[in-house]
């Protein structure tokens, strides 16, 4: 196994870990972290697989840079929402079951 495939698998690991954490952990800050970890996993996969050919493929690199910027935008929004939820409800997690 070549090293870039290894990194691609690490990316998958990160993605899965993040997904699990998003579902399981109720604390919003943790959910935000988990989404970021998931994103990193996807980015890693995207770039690592581009190493398969000898010449570097710059397109995934550009995509990942775009993705990183999108990720921080989403994180900023998530953070402000989290703070507002805390301010309104006094708790940093979502109500467990939506009202039926």
């Amino acid at each position: 196994m070549t090293f870039f495939l290894f990194f691609a698998l690490v990316g998958i690991g990160l993605f899965t870990l993040g997904l699990y954490a998003v579902i399981v952990h109720p604390h919003l800050l943790r959910k935000i972290l988990a989404v970021n970890v998931m994103g990193s996993g996807v980015f890693l996969l995207l770039v690592a697989l581009a190493k398969r050919s000898d010449s570097v493929d710059p397109v995934p690199h550009a995509m990942v840079i775009t993705g990183i910027v999108v990720a921080i935008s989403a994180t900023a929004l998530a953070v402000i929402l989290m703070l507002r939820v805390k301010g309104e409800t006094g708790r940093v997690k979502l109500p467990e079951t939506p009202q039926e």
Partner: protein
Amino acid sequence: MSVLIFSIHWQVMVVLLPLAGAIACFLWPRRGVMLALVCALGTTLSVAGLSWLVVVEGAQRYTVGGWGAPLGIDLYVDGLSLLMLIVTSVVGVAISVYANGYFERSRARAFWPLWLFLWGALNALFLSADIFNLYITLELLGLAAVTLVALAKGAQPLSSAMRYLLVTLLGSLLFLLGVALLYHSSGSVDIAILAERLSASPVVWIALGLMVVGLLLKTALFPLHFWLPQAHASAPAPVSALLSALVVKASFYILIRLWLEIFPPNNFVLGQLLGLLGAAALLWGNLQALRQTRLKMLIAYSTVAQLGYLFLAFPLANIIGWTGALYMLLSHAIAKAAMFMAAGNILRFGGHDSIADLDRIVQRLPLTVTTFALAGVSIMGLPPSGGFVAKWLLLEAAIRSAQWWWGVVLVLGGLLSAVWIFKVVGYAFTPSPVPHEVRAVPASMEWSALALALTAIALGLFSSWPLALMMVGLPFGEGGGS
């Protein structure tokens, strides 16, 4: 005249005008309303120009940057995307007029640029022929939509917005992972090139599976709908309208595009599965709607149900079925926007939206109740309305493909929705024991909602034009389908 029309790059205008409008509203918030309305008009005109171009010259491919796929990004307009653009414009203009009366000054400052951003994102999404570009438009759309939900006051909207944000991010990431796998198995992110190069291999199936799950999450197909009722019900009324009418449809549009273009043909099982989920959504959503005591919650659950109709086209998989589903999308978008706007009027009028306390509102807000009833006619699928045409086509597809059980589901869904619609209308006719304080509703809010409801009815009388438009560029293939 026609030279002018053909020399303008309408595709670009359609995307850039709302974005420019958003920036202008951001720079000069005090003139937000004026700028936004001008922009809404300009965008609508651009969509009209684009429609003319497409109707006259057929489907259009546009190379941004002049490079062309696979290196550059292409925009592609055919009947399918044009239809989505037109729906967006129709609903968009009505919502703009409505929102002008709805928001007070402080929240209007936030609303206009966000809404225009959302509009731009929708238009960009419907035009894009590039799955990575679609990811960015999805994010743009999601972030704008979440923020708009959170503009409502109170704890409930914030919690729903937060849940919605997490869901939409999760959906986007699943989609992006699929994009990554597809890129690495084909070397392109252009849909047309992907369609040529992809063959049914495990990677492709897994990638498509991820994308489908991500998109279903955003489209809120049962059982992934858990986030939708809260978010759509607690948002400000114009936002609820545009979420239910347009935003959930955007991810459905991508799904249908991918399905038609790049899915390997032997996907019978997946089609049946999607149909099954759609049927479950239809029944579950309507049953839940029946149990609701608050009007906006009820309408939100009805959105869950109506989304189910759209997925009934997947197992039918013939042209009549697709056109039926799209017609459903069209008429649901317009009718549901009208309905949410009517609910907004009722909420503003009595200060509450408890169904049992509607208190003879039919006498005091006759226009709004008419709006609700007309929109209800379309949602039930009674003639003459867009909903009827859609249901007719879907039912015809079910009978022609000898899958009558989907027809049973269709009829049952329509009847269930009739039950809750008439429940609401019935309460609108009866006095409630407790009198309520009332507040006047601006005429612009009542009339814009009514205009949409009437459009939904008109769709039942003039269906030939939208149906012909859908077929431009043959988005559903030529023959009887796979």
